[in-house]
Symmetry: none
Subunit: 196 residues, 4 copies
């Protein structure tokens, strides 16, 4: 019925030299939210809008749709790696992992990225990420742990837990994730993001 406001002739100032880093962070944060709400495949424009920047900025920082998703996941993985680096306690690391699984639906579906072609989004890279997650966990896998029987068991287990994680709210998803770990006979520490 009515039209969008559209251009206002005014142009917001560029924001100075170090706005670039701030923008990048804002984009990743925005992407995480948007992905969580709408799934991967949400319009990129929505991410830019939520981040409060123009579309161009998004493209300056990320060459394509894949790169955005990748950057979001990178951070998740990095946090897990960090957690692994600072804790010798597997349970605590799994707590951080579980937090991420419960946090973002996108994170989950990317860990699933099989290469079946599913959406052809974020393709091979996700594999790399899963492997990094696995490596981070394996570091602390004690002898005789239930997931040491076969070499792939650890990765499969992570996939399994992510498969159990469904539900509308974070709490809902966390509860199911914990139930999944229980069914695997694996103990998990407190579920929370990694903090240095």
């Amino acid at each position: 019925m009515t039209q969008k406001p559209l251009s206002d002739t005014r142009r917001p100032p560029s924001g100075g030299p170090k706005a670039a880093a701030r923008n990048r962070a804002a984009l990743i944060a925005a992407a995480r939210e948007v992905y969580a709400e709408n799934g991967l495949g949400a319009p990129l424009s929505a991410i830019a809008r939520r981040a409060g920047v123009g579309q161009g900025v998004l493209y300056r920082h990320f060459p394509d749709r894949t790169a955005v998703a990748t950057a979001v996941l990178e951070e998740n993985v990095r946090q897990i790696e960090q957690a692994a680096k600072q804790n010798t306690d597997l349970a605590k690391v799994l707590g951080v992992l579980t937090w991420h699984l419960s946090e973002s639906a996108a994170f989950i579906s990317v860990l699933h990225a099989d290469g079946t072609g599913s959406h052809s989004t974020v393709p091979m890279y996700a594999l790399t990420l899963s492997q990094r997650v696995e490596r981070a966990l394996r570091m602390h896998l004690p002898e005789g742990h239930p997931l040491t029987a076969e070499p792939d068991d650890l990765m499969i287990a992570v996939g399994m837990v992510s498969g159990a994680v469904t539900g509308p709210t974070r709490e809902h998803r966390e509860r199911r994730a914990l139930a999944a770990w229980r069914l695997l006979g694996v103990e998990v520490g407190p579920v929370r993001p990694f903090e240095e």
Copy 2:
């Protein structure tokens, strides 16, 4: 508003009303393939093309994108239910379930359908389906089975296995599914479709 008369390019024969049932089946089969290859969210036109019918036929049979996916999954679920009806052996039923999980990436991601986002892809109906799968399985769950500890354990377990199922080929996926069941301590019969 009005539609101009169509161009004169020849029109292939319609095939007659008899074709209706055949077309519906063809569409479901085509959808299953396309979904397996490209995920839900594949262009509907691709399904119609693969089924060898016009776009309109697809819409005649299925009012919207959801209905197509639903129809495909219906059949999967029905087969599992059939298997449950004819077998008292849980392992055998799980074999059929596992076959479907390995067969179609779509089946998997719909069992995940949480409602988190993914703009309402195959929304509530998927819940019904998971529940039907669960009910079919629960019928045969013996006392003291590892999945009887908590009421949701069975459904969660199915989700977990589906979460483990990734990989480019059916064989690959089957191997992972079996590993997942093993990690859950659940025995599975031969992996194959239900046959009457």
Copy 3:
């Protein structure tokens, strides 16, 4: 969600030889209703459905979209002509005309059919119809009537009244039609369909 019933294999009987006339009448009646509710440009399939016949029957009776609309209007016009034939009283004839104007939005917009190309629907034929309406009225136009000043005045007046006829319900439209005639200084008899 669910699919349409679709074919049922059963085939309703052809209806006998003289069903043809009944069908034609049903189609015209259905078209009148559908047009009144949805305007010209409603899907032809809606008309066939409302008439309770297949699409093919519609095409058997009416070669194209135009023919359907035409047939509906024909009947309106014929009734007005009939009314004119049986009454020497202009007011009574105008009452019948007004009834039709109030009855059907479609009738109105077709009397407007100017040839501007507007919808390119029901094109030239409408002219013929307006002319027939005019001729029917002119028969009874007494000397010195307000609409005798210029030759086109009568036709213009009919157009004017039809232009005034808007509103959601028949009653609403009738009220406005009568107001319009009043502004033209023309007396109108009771507003009702022609009955023999």
Copy 4:
């Protein structure tokens, strides 16, 4: 779901933000022409093409089909309001109104917008517009004018004139509009667009 990267065929330059205002104007002008030639309900793509812009631009400026029509009519109404503001002479204002009626078939059929059907074409908003037209005219309606008998008479009269306005060319339509005003006993000034 996801969108494949666009083909490589060269992309014409965007024209920059400055073009936005120009484009909006071009779209409205194009819409006016297209509507006049083909009626409301003309393909939106035709409007975009005539305006020399991509489809997307049209959608950026106008969220839906309604908004386009609305914008065109807005301008018509605004001009009539302007004319009313600058003239105390009703006849002159009616001249401007008549010019618009003769100019555009679309303007006419929207003033008719009753809501009867025509699947909600330019729905409620048209009412607002008619009311604005009426208000603009009423300002100058002298005591004892033929259209002051009943409160709705003015609006009905405008509808009536618009109903009389048919014919293939502007001249044709103007002639009929003037005849309609004459039949109403209302004097009209020179028929021409408003110029400041």
